[in-house]
């Protein structure tokens, strides 16, 4: 050791702290190295994290925001909203003249900007007929006497402007945020104090949610029924045969969703292959061809086919790990084939069943394309209703609320999946 090193060592304080060569405490150096490593991993992750936040999570957050956002009333008729605060909606009489005067001024501005019909269609979701009132008055308002009084002129344009209910609705939906879309999404409507469910024959969304879940359950069950034997066969044959069978499972998995849906459409049609075959072998009469498409049956058949690989793959990976000696031990102790399977083998496959079932169920309840194409009117899911509200009825708030409920459902299920399987154990093929 050179004398220079000796002096270096001597300079270090003798306090029992482990030190690196340059004299800094080892603990500090380690912490710095750890920090640097964390930084490096974060720099590598950051671009994607940022990308996902911006291109994916921000849209989801925006959707959640839209499900409660309600600034249209406030923004379109601000003065009226202020005036309405002095009016007691429980009084049983229409608002005073000041409200109508403010409404006249707001209406003129809104009409200038051509946004009064938008407010009309927004309020129409809450009280039907409002859209027409706004359009009619939008035409009449040019002929109004600017000196007032405005109340009779509005009522003359449309007598519903004199109704308490109209103003009650406007007042109720004048706040910036609303739970109204969520209430509609669960078929409820708010009354003056609390809220109550709509009459049974008007409850469409609850029915649709229940149908979506029920059909997803049926699909999950049929994939389990069909997938279990396949996974069992694959895990109990030679490696080379299993690989060949695996390709048969993966081929549909890799085939485009639309290809498979169109295949089912071709097969299940009344003039399609299956019906032709059944008629040809005289099982079904030509005049009584089976209706297998555009109903719930069509959706269930096609989606079972589409989701079957998602059941087989987790089942297979669990079954591969089950040692054959368990069943042999059971049999050696006198169990017959069925008992050995049911009491020993089957319980061991439950993790696989759980993983596959949750995965298929999660995928099924959010399905859109297949129900849309083969589901007709009775076989559609909640997703189809969401799509309808976005592109046809343009009730985006309700679409967002329905989407938020569906999202909550999926996340809950996924939480269970994570607990059972673990998020890192998702395998692909």
């Amino acid at each position: 050791m050179s004398s220079a090193d000796m002096t270096h060592v001597e300079q270090m304080p003798d306090d029992g702290v482990m030190r690196a060569a340059d004299g800094t405490p080892l603990k500090k150096r380690l912490a710095r190295a750890l920090r640097r490593e964390k930084m490096r991993s974060f720099v590598l992750i950051a671009p994607l994290l940022f990308f996902i936040l911006l291109s994916f999570l921000a849209p989801i957050a925006d959707m959640l925001f839209r499900s409660v956002e309600n600034d249209i009333v406030q923004n379109t008729i601000p003065e009226t909203v202020t005036e309405l605060q002095n009016w007691d909606s429980a009084s049983g009489s229409a608002p005073p003249e000041e409200v109508y005067a403010a409404f006249y001024r707001d209406f003129l501005v809104a009409r200038e900007k051509r946004i009064h019909t938008r407010l009309g269609s927004r309020l129409n979701y809450e009280l039907s007929g409002m859209s027409g009132m706004f359009r009619r008055t939008g035409r009449d308002i040019r002929r109004f006497d600017e000196a007032g009084p405005f109340k009779p002129q509005f009522i003359k344009s449309d007598e519903d402007w004199g109704a308490v209910e109209t103003w009650r609705v406007i007042k109720k939906f004048s706040s910036l945020y609303t739970a109204g879309y969520y209430l509609s999404a669960i078929d409820a409507e708010s009354t003056s104090e609390s809220f109550e469910l709509k009459p049974a024959d008007e409850r469409i969304y609850i029915k649709l949610f229940i149908r979506t879940m029920w059909m997803s359950l049926l699909i999950t069950f049929s994939t389990l029924l069909l997938g279990y034997p396949i996974a069992y066969l694959m895990s109990h044959t030679k490696r080379s045969t299993a690989n060949l069978l695996m390709i048969l499972v993966l081929l549909p998995f890799w085939t485009s969703l639309l290809v498979r849906t169109s295949a089912w459409k071709v097969l299940l049609q009344q003039q399609g292959v299956i019906n032709d075959f059944l008629v040809w072998i005289n099982v079904v009469d030509d005049s009584a061809r089976l209706v297998m498409i555009n109903n719930q049956l069509g959706t269930i058949i096609a989606m079972t086919h589409i989701l079957l690989p998602f059941m087989i793959l987790p089942l297979y990976s669990v079954m591969q790990t089950i040692s054959p000696s368990y069943v042999r031990a059971a049999k050696s102790m006198g169990a017959n084939d069925w008992t050995a399977f049911w009491r020993v083998y089957f319980p061991n496959t439950i993790p696989g069943i759980g993983a596959g079932a949750i995965l298929v169920f999660i995928l099924a309840i959010g399905y859109y394309i297949t129900p849309e194409l083969v589901g007709g009117t009775q076989g559609v899911f909640i997703s189809n209703r969401i799509a309808f509200h976005i592109s046809s009825s343009l009730n985006w708030g309700l679409a967002a609320a329905l989407g938020a409920i569906l999202l909550l459902l999926v996340l809950l299920l996924f939480y269970c999946y994570d607990k059972i399987v673990g998020i890192d154990n998702v395998k692909l093929g």
């Binding site: 991993s41 291109s55 030679k238 485009s256 169109s262 292959v273 959010g366 394309i369």
Partner: protein
Amino acid sequence: MASPLPPYASSLQIFWYYAFRVICGLIFFFLIFPILTIIPLSFNAQDFFTFTPEMLRFDPAGYSFKHYVDFFTNPDWQQALRNSFMIAPMATIIATALGTLAAIGLSQSHVPARSAIMAVLISPMIVPLIISAAGMYFFYSRLGLQGTYWGVVLAHAALGTPFVIITVTATLVGFDRSLTRAAASMGADPVTTFFKVQMPLILPGVISGALFAFITSFDEVVVILFLGSASQQTLPWQMFTGLREQISPTILAVATIMVALSIVLLGTLEFIRRRSERIRGLSPS
């Protein structure tokens, strides 16, 4: 079941042994036959969706390429094909580049909030497509990206990244970290180490991730229905509208071409998997 039946098997056991195989055969038939049926049907000389008597007699007059000719000459289908091949590769490149980097970052030993980050990065795969589509439609129209090429590409890239992360992470599990240390000790800077040492070894994972991302974008129809405009119509979109409105047998020709494409992709994946297992010294299965 791996071994043939033992000599003492009862007749019930023998019956069940074969019955089970018949049941499995039927299930495999259910899995494969819808896909196989459309292939001969796509050569139908008539505009029908079922086998004509001529086809069943194997009369050459019953078969023709007319639906394929229609696909390759119809400007709508050609535009859709072009759009598909413009959107999917770009989305794949973005998803693969960002996903690979993030997977390498996630595989380091000290990552703060690892599981939370993982959950966020995997989320595009979990959230139902209709919800992603709805959210993206609302948000991208605020940004003016709705109905643009880049809007669709960004959306598809986001949907493809979870697959890249999963496949690359899986290859990194078996990655020997001392190799990068060895490279660094011999004077390679991190970038050289990455491209010369790490990248060739994790390449199989990256390629299969890229294939997954490609097929995700290439097959995707829900998001593009909402985000795209008429000038971004892709093949799946065209098929979707075709199936919903005026169903034309050209769809079957397109479907057959897409089945061929997926067979090629599946073959490539299988090839990569076997090769990487051989390279890493694992026995090829």
